[in-house]
Symmetry: D2
Subunit: 304 residues, 4 copies
């Protein structure tokens, strides 16, 4: 159970209090507010607050582009135009704040997205809970043999069992020792400083933070982290956030899917090849100027 | 009249529509929403949207510091502690979006605050209005003789009249020529591109933008721009924003006033002098290690 | 003459002093150091300092990716891989500092690139020079009739002459009044504060700044500002910088040209169309799911 | 031994190759280039590259402030003025790049400084070395009883021995299992993906990164991390960097020490008290408007 009963009571109280506001409201996101979406075995995301909606993107763009963009009928077209031409500032006008619980090794990847605001649970001040990420059997993947940062086939049988046994016992033993080191007693034991004791915890221990980000930077996060090359354990967070964003700003999210996620970037050389192919010419890798790897990536993307 | 009648109708419509939300609401700021606060002769600020309140700062701090900070009774103490010890991240959890109309030379100072989101009216796309900042008589200051970036006494009589005449006639003539250059007609005149014609406008022409910023960076803006060393024409904007912030996050704003605005920074050398003075020793500039200017600044700050 | 004789003497002195360093050196960029490259009628760029080279990009990437990337033989391949897969952080390891002289209306576009360091000449402290951008005849373009932010055909004859006359006389008159307002005299005239007097200057007046940026953000600047949609007056600066960058980091610049500048981004819908076309199917706009404008943009990019 | 013999050979080669440059050179920093400064038991910092020196700060400030600041004789005064009045942009004109080896729990604090460029060793791609931070006896501190994020007295005797035994054995066992899980063999064992196996490592394992930052943001880092409230294990890195900076930009570093590190910030209320005390009045905490804690902090700072 990711939330403590105390936290759940807080969520329930918040969901029972509805306020009046003169701000714009995104009905689809209101439904998500405060509720937890479980991710991995003990993690979650939940929306704490937000600002703006699809209309706020258009409103800001119209300040920039003036009267030519006034007609309300084409919000969708305007948003698609902004996304297509990399006009990123109107998307920065929306903001979302999430409460996230996640393993430390995922947090270390996540924090590299610098244009965001973060308050993380401090293990200098407070004691971390006894909660660790242990992969589900289908996530227990071998090292890929082709890709030095990827995963290959799923482990099974004795090897899988041994890995799970190691992960469980090491994190548990380390946590037990963490508690032992912290524990002052009445017989003169002082207890190690929390800021030191935490160094004995393994990287699958859970932490939590508040994370606030604007929509432009969130799309950048989603493009990189909801991608098939991202590590599975951060991708599931990105996927959960993506679903929330789809309900928050449906027009912007659809444009993002079309132009960023599902799109194909052709290099100058690849674009040349495609132009020739479309004219009926036969083009091969050795005359394309592209490396074998680039050629293969292009063929896969275009299903040639 | 800073707002067009069309814009005023929009504001009125927004003020007549009240929505329900599960988000936190800052009652003091709700009253400001959408309304214009006039600044200078044609400028204004108005609050378009916001996220968070004093409680949101504490909420984020408590995620970081854990259970030790749970008691609701001491929100004020917690906020003062955060401000005093430069714990800036919880203040980043609040966000505000303003619509600002301002002269271009003010916009050029303002934009140097990089950690903010901006959508400015584009004079490449659209035609600027015929509105210029002309200083009120009491703002018509001479160059300071002591301070190369400051103002001295107020101009009067013929000199003042001549300055006002210049400012009015030059901005007006330039604007007239701007319109003339833009104007295509039916007799073959093409009209100069808007992105070129704008170069003929003077720096007191008004522009407008949406400006979105978190509370930490807004405090930084206010500390520098509501300061007596800031140019009067940006300070009046900072002052107007300061009043809004006081109604939005009263506890954080009071802490900001106490620790940042009204505070005194002593250098190591100045602190040494003060320590000696408090012990009853007599200290003079020549033994202080401070320059004459630093010594004078310290004496003024401490009213010695 | 963009540089004063005093500045030119400084440049000459710097070029006559060569130092020893244990830092990496980019021979191609050393040749540019301190020299001015003229841009527009009075502007310039010149390289003041830099850090890193192509090898520094690889060095940083190899810290990240470890031993698998050690072979020195494939620096080019590594850099192309990083660019292709949007691994931006190694490019941030190179930094360049430029001295730029540019018209104010260009500076206002430029400054929107926030991830850079800037020190601009302050017209609060100092008096601006009497220098204005007046477009060359071939840059005197009419407003585009199709594109609200673009340029159409070049003005000629009387219309061109009238525009040039306006630009010259208005900037000159405004500058003359600027000097007049500033001028204190011995007969009691105080002189208007510099921070106020500057508001009478037109937006084609030249300013200057030091601008420091990392290579990743510089590429982003170049992609947007050396693009055919950028305003001509900023594009010439981007083009001049691009030539310098080509000499500084030839491998990275070539990769940037191939993957960013000359590349084509296909949306999900456009990619679907291309896949079908490559299989020999006939696809038309009305079944493509794309708007007429998007369809046209795709056809132009692929020369269909 | 923090550097491998291979890395040491690289350093030696770099120190044997001296290049010619037209860039400014900081002689004090040249001496540090490439050399390692050991920190903690296996960590280090070493300078990889840099840009600028004290003169570069003044050069940039003079672009801003114009001719009034031209006299070369007062570089020190100018730098002190900039620091005292929070003119931060000229300090951003200097940049330094460090190679740092540090425990993961230190890296997690360090990375919160967002305005910097980082390339970290990736445990998705590569296998981490068997190196862990084990505190020296004098760093083995108990939890503070007054300060929830601080340290108290040093542990000794059996308690100290038990802590060291735990830290050593847990990190070693976890690392052994990490290797075991990674190990593919010829008998069908696939080996766990590196990106998963790393989660079994404890937070005292060493990582390394390239870290590039401008001087303004580096001073901010040093102010927070070379402070007595910072955790000892990051403070020793900040101290080592501080020594390097003192040799790089001696004038700027001295100003930083005087105005930031050794200075005292008085709140408005505290400044009021000090003014009264300096006039000979007796002021006590209960009439000061300050909390007991603030009062105590002020008395300590001023040695009252």
């Amino acid at each position: 159970m990711p939330l403590t009963s105390e936290q759940q009571a807080e969520v329930d109280a918040l969901r029972n209090t509805r306020n009046q506001t003169w701000r714009a409201v995104a009905p689809g996101l209101e439904e998500h507010l405060h509720k937890t979406h479980n991710v991995l075995d003990h993690g979650f995301i939940r929306v704490i607050d937000y600002m703006g909606d699809d209309a706020a993107i258009c409103q800001a763009a119209r300040v920039s582009y003036g009267k030519g963009t006034k007609s309300v009928s084409n919000d969708e077209g305007l948003i698609r135009y902004l996304m297509r031409h990399w006009h990123s500032t109107p998307f920065e006008m929306c903001e979302i704040k999430l409460h996230v619980k996640l393993p430390v090794f995922v947090a270390r990847q996540w924090i590299r997205h610098r244009t965001a605001n973060v308050n993380e649970y401090s293990a200098r001040y407070s004691i971390l809970d006894r909660e660790f990420y242990i992969p589900a059997p289908e996530a227990l993947a071998a090292q890929s043999v082709e890709n030095s940062q990827g995963r290959g086939q799923v482990l099974s049988g004795d090897e899988a069992n041994r890995v799970l046994e190691i992960l469980r016992s090491d994190s548990s033993r380390c946590y037990g020792h963490y508690e032992e080191m912290l524990g002052a007693d009445d017989h003169g034991k002082l207890g190690l400083a929390r800021e030191l004791a935490r160094m004995n915890l393994t990287a699958n221990v859970y932490t939590q933070w508040y994370w606030k980000v604007d929509l432009h930077n969130l799309f950048h996060f989603l493009r990189l982290r909801a991608d098939s090359h991202a590590q599975f354990e951060i991708r599931v967070y990105a996927d959960a956030i993506g679903k929330v964003v789809a309900d928050w700003v449906p027009l912007a999210y659809a444009a993002f899917r079309d132009y960023r996620v599902g799109g194909v970037n052709l290099s100058a050389k690849a674009a040349d090849c495609v132009r020739k192919m479309l004219k009926g010419e036969t083009v091969t890798q050795d005359v394309s100027g592209m490396s074998k790897r680039e050629w293969r990536e292009m063929c896969e993307a275009l299903q040639i």
